[in-house]
């Protein structure tokens, strides 16, 4: 291993540590899962313990998109726009059965999983998922962020 590789690895670790503990999330809440999201954010479960509790309703100031609830074809372009407006690096959590796969709705209206519109990092199953499940999904995402190769904006792209 050359000296630069060592420095790069340490820098990746440091940036990953910083990123995973400063997630600003944008809650895209459309349905019953929203109640579960609210409990997760409130005092008893306290999502803020994990450095991900700062809710921003501006996509330009958020780096974690929480898609919470049923997404219909009528709403899909809005979700796509919100995702496009978020700045890199950004992550997406699909929260609940409807978001993951359309859930119980197999009909003319509902998108059968938001990964048909935007890329998803962590899927949280359940109808609705318990707050513990949500926090577990969040920890898995933080683990992923810590391990991933960080995108250095000033690095020379291959």
């Amino acid at each position: 291993m050359s000296g630069f590789d060592f420095v790069a690895t340490r820098l990746d670790t440091a940036i990953g540590w910083g990123r995973k503990f400063s997630l600003f999330h944008y809650p895209f809440v459309t349905a019953c899962c929203g109640m579960e999201y609210m409990s997760t954010a409130c005092a008893h479960f306290d999502i803020d313990r994990f450095g991900a509790g700062l809710t921003r309703f501006s996509p330009r100031q958020a780096d974690l998109l929480l898609v919470v609830g049923t997404i219909t074809h009528k709403l899909a372009p809005v979700l796509r726009t919100v995702y496009d407006q978020m700045l890199e690096p950004k992550w997406v959590i699909a929260f609940g059965a409807c978001t993951v796969s359309g859930g119980i709705y197999r009909n003319y209206a509902v998108v059968q999983g938001i990964d048909k519109i935007i890329p998803v990092d962590v899927y949280i199953p359940g109808c609705p998922p318990r707050p513990e499940t949500v926090l577990d999904g969040l920890l898995k995402l933080q683990d992923r962020i810590q391990r991933q190769k960080q995108d250095w904006r000033w690095a020379r792209k291959p």
Binding site: H73, K74, A76, P77, R80, R106, N107, Y108, A109, V111, Q112, D115, K116, I117
Partner: protein
């Protein structure tokens, strides 16, 4: 005034507009001629009947060979504290019925919903356009002839055609 008397009075007032009286789990249901829906409900809205509230307006598709829709109206009288259900059949080929927007303001959205989901035209509605689905949606999803798995995405979906 008992329910039987009330139904008798309504039939006497509306005359041939009432095609018959059906029974639904003990509650009377008046079957109306489709052409007379608007004048009949306008009469029921006035005293002495005083059905001042339009609780609901919806539609049922009887696809099983009958080729017809049935419009269902639920009225409520505040002064008497009684409800009334009315039905009217229209052919599925060209379903049309008079609009109630002049009588009840909430009929605007209820009729737009029925138009969107079933394709029933309401003559006299000020802006009959889709309510739940979007402009450009083809067909009417609650008709039984609508393919139940047909989706009409507005943006391209990954992994499909």
């Amino acid at each position: 005034m008992g329910p039987e008397t009330l139904i008798g009075e309504i039939r006497a007032r509306l005359g041939p507009a009432v095609e018959g009286v059906a029974d639904s789990f003990g509650d009377p249901v008046l079957v109306l001629r489709a052409a007379d829906v608007r004048p009949a409900l306008a009469a029921l809205r006035e005293p002495p009947f005083d059905y001042a509230v339009l609780l609901d307006l919806t539609c049922v598709d009887y696809a099983a060979g009958e080729g017809r829709f049935e419009l269902v109206y639920h009225l409520y009288s505040l002064s008497r504290n009684v409800r009334l259900r009315l039905k009217a059949s229209v052919p599925a080929a060209d379903p049309a019925v008079g609009s109630l927007v002049g009588l009840w303001k909430n009929a605007e959205w209820l009729e737009r919903e029925v138009f969107d989901m079933f394709g029933v035209r309401f003559e006299g509605h000020p802006y009959l356009r889709r309510l739940l689905t979007y402009e450009g949606f083809e067909g009417h999803p609650l008709r039984k002839s609508y393919p139940w798995r047909l989706e009409q995405p507005r943006i391209p979906m990954k992994g499909e055609g």
